[in-house]
C-alpha cells in the first residue's frame, strides 16, 4: 500500500483573477499520508483544494487521481475515488439527517438502484461515528452549525473514498469534536486512505498531518514533511506575524508572539 500515489499535481497553476494560489506546483500525495494546507485568509487554499478535487479546472498544469485525470475518469468514477468536504453546508430544502448521510452512497449505486439495507447500515455507522446517531429523523434545517458540519462528515464517510479532500473540516466544531473528527480521519489514513485538508491551527496540523503545504498567496508554496515545514520561522513568515513554538508533554503548539 505504501508509496501508492493517490493524488498528483504536475506544474499546477491556479489563478483567481490576478491572484495566484500556486504557480507550477508539483505535489504527490501517497496512501496513508495526511497533508495539511496552511496559509493566510484569501491565499487561495480552498480554490486550490477544489482544483485538486476536480471541481474547477486548473489554470494550467494537470491533476491526476490514481493516474487518471478527472476528465478521463468521469464524474461518477471520480466520486468513487475522492471525497470532498465543503467549507459551508447549505440546505435549501428540508431533509432528514439519515437521508442526508445516505446521499453519500450515490456513486456506489447504479442508475435505477434505491438505497438498500447495506447503504442504510453504512449511513447509521457513519452517524454513530460523528455522534449523530440519535438525530436520524431530525430535519437538517434544524441542526446547529457544528451538528451540520458533523453530518457533512458523515455523508463523506458514507461515500467511502480513497482520497479525502477536506476544506476546513473543523469549522463550527468545539474542541472535543475537533479532536474526535481528526481522530476519525486518522483512522482512515491508518486504513490506507490519503487526506489533504485545509487547516487553520498549526498545532493541530502538527498533531495530525504527516506532511504540510504552505500557501503564501503570491504563487509561492513550500512543502515537505511536517517537522521540516512547521518551524516558527516558516510559520511566522507565512502568517506575517511572529509565532513561537513550544512543547508540552510531547505535543507541539504555536503561540502568536
Amino acid at each position: 500500500m505504501m508509496h501508492t500515489v493517490y493524488l498528483q499535481a504536475e506544474q499546477l497553476v491556479v489563478r483567481i483573477g490576478q491572484h495566484a494560489a500556486c504557480c507550477g506546483l508539483d505535489l504527490q500525495v501517497e496512501a496513508g499520508q495526511h497533508w495539511a494546507i496552511l496559509g493566510r485568509n484569501g491565499a487561495g487554499k480552498s480554490t486550490l483544494l477544489s482544483v485538486l478535487a476536480g471541481l474547477r479546472p486548473p489554470t494550467d498544469g494537470r491533476v491526476t487521481v490514481n493516474q487518471q485525470t478527472y476528465r478521463e475518469m468521469g464524474a461518477r468514477q471520480a466520486a468513487q475515488w475522492r471525497g470532498w468536504l465543503a467549507q459551508q453546508q447549505g440546505d435549501a430544502f428540508a431533509s432528514s439527517v439519515l437521508e442526508t448521510a445516505v446521499a453519500g452512497r450515490h456513486p456506489h449505486l447504479a442508475r435505477w438502484d434505491w438505497e438498500g439495507e447495506n447503504d442504510l447500515r453504512i449511513a447509521r455507522q457513519a452517524l454513530l461515528a460523528v455522534g449523530l446517531h440519535a438525530f436520524e429523523a431530525r430535519d437538517v434545517q434544524t441542526l446547529s452549525g457544528g451538528e451540520r458540519q458533523r453530518l457533512a462528515i458523515a455523508t463523506l464517510l458514507c461515500q467511502q473514498p480513497h482520497l479525502f479532500l477536506l476544506d476546513e473540516p473543523l469549522t463550527h466544531l468545539d474542541l472535543n469534536h475537533q479532536v474526535a473528527v481528526l481522530d476519525l480521519f486518522r483512522a482512515q489514513t491508518d486504513a490506507g486512505a490519503a487526506i489533504v485538508s485545509v487547516l487553520h491551527d498549526p498545532g493541530l496540523a502538527w498533531r495530525y498531518a504527516s506532511h504540510v503545504l504552505l500557501v503564501h498567496g503570491d504563487g509561492r508554496t513550500e512543502q515537505g514533511r511536517r517537522d521540516d515545514i512547521l518551524t516558527s520561522e516558516r510559520l511566522s513568515a507565512l502568517y506575517g506575524h511572529p509565532l513561537q513554538r513550544f512543547e508540552l508533554n510531547g505535543q507541539v503548539g504555536f503561540l502568536p508572539g
Partner: protein
Amino acid sequence: MPTRRRALLILLALALLALASLGLALTAGSLSIGLPDIAASLLGQTVAGSDIILQLRLPRALAGFACGGLLALAGALMQVLLRNPLADPYVLGISGGAGVGAMAAMLFGLPLFLIDGLAFAGALGTMLLVFGLAHGDGSWTQTRLLLTGVIVAAGCGALIALMLSVAPETKLHSMLFWLMGDLGQSYSWWPALLTLALVLLLTAPFARELNLLARGLQQAQALGVAVNRLRYAIYLLASLATAASVTTAGSVGFVGLVVPHLVRMAIGNDQRLLLPAAALAGGALLVLADTAARTLIAPQQLPVGVLTALIGVPVFLYLLSRAGLRR
C-alpha cells in the same frame, strides 16, 4: 426516505385520485351524465350525451390534467434547478414570452391554432433569450439565471400590459381569460399530454442526481453528478413543459409553485417520488379546479387560474401550519 415499495403505493393512490378527478369532470356539467353512460361512450357506444363526453368534456379534462401535471413537474424541476423553494415554472419568464405571443395573436384576430403557435414561439423565444443572456460568460450561476429570468419576465409583462391597453373591448375579455389561465380556449389536448409523458420519462433516470443537485452544485459534483450537463437538460425540459402547458391553457397560476410544496410536505423531497407524484397531484388539482370553474356559476365560466388559487391557498396554509407544529 421512501422505499421503492412505499413510493409505488403512493403513486398508485395518486393515480386513483387523478382517475377519480377525471371521472368527476366527465359527469359534472349542465347535463349530468351517469358513470354507466360515460363508460359506454368511452367504449365507443352511442348513448345520450356521447357527443358531449367525447367532443367537449374528455378533451378538456385531458388538457387540464396534462397542463396541471406539466406545471407541477416544471415547478418541482425549477425549484431544484435554482435551489429556491420560491421558484415556479413562470419565474424565468416563459409564461411572459408565451403571453406576448398569444396577446399579439389575439390582438390581430388570428385563429386559435395560431394563438397557440405564437404562444409556443414566444415561450421558446424567452427560454433561449434567458438562457443566452444568463449563460453569457459561461458562469451560469443560479442567481444570475434567476435575475435574468425575472427581468425578462418583467419586460414581457410590460409588453402584455401595452397590448391590453390598446386592445378593443370586444377582445379584452378573452385576452384576460387567457392571461388568467383558461382551458375553454385550448386547441388540442394531446401535445400537452405527450409532453408530460416525455418529460416524466426523461427525468426519471436522473431523479437521484436531482436529489443531490438540490443539496448544492459542488456537493452534487463531488458525489459524481455531471452537474453542467444535468442543469442544461433540466432547464430545457422544465422550459419545454411550461411552454406546452402555457400554450394549451394560458398562464394558469399557483399550480406550479404550490403543488410541489404540497407534495413535498406530504411525502418528502425525494425527487424519484416527488416528480411523478407532483405531476399526478397537479393534474388532478387542475381537473378539479376546471370542473368547478365551468359548473359553479354555470352557464357562465370562470378562468381556472382563479379557482386553482382559491382551492390551493387554504390547503397550502393549513399544511404549512401543521408542518410548522411538527417541527
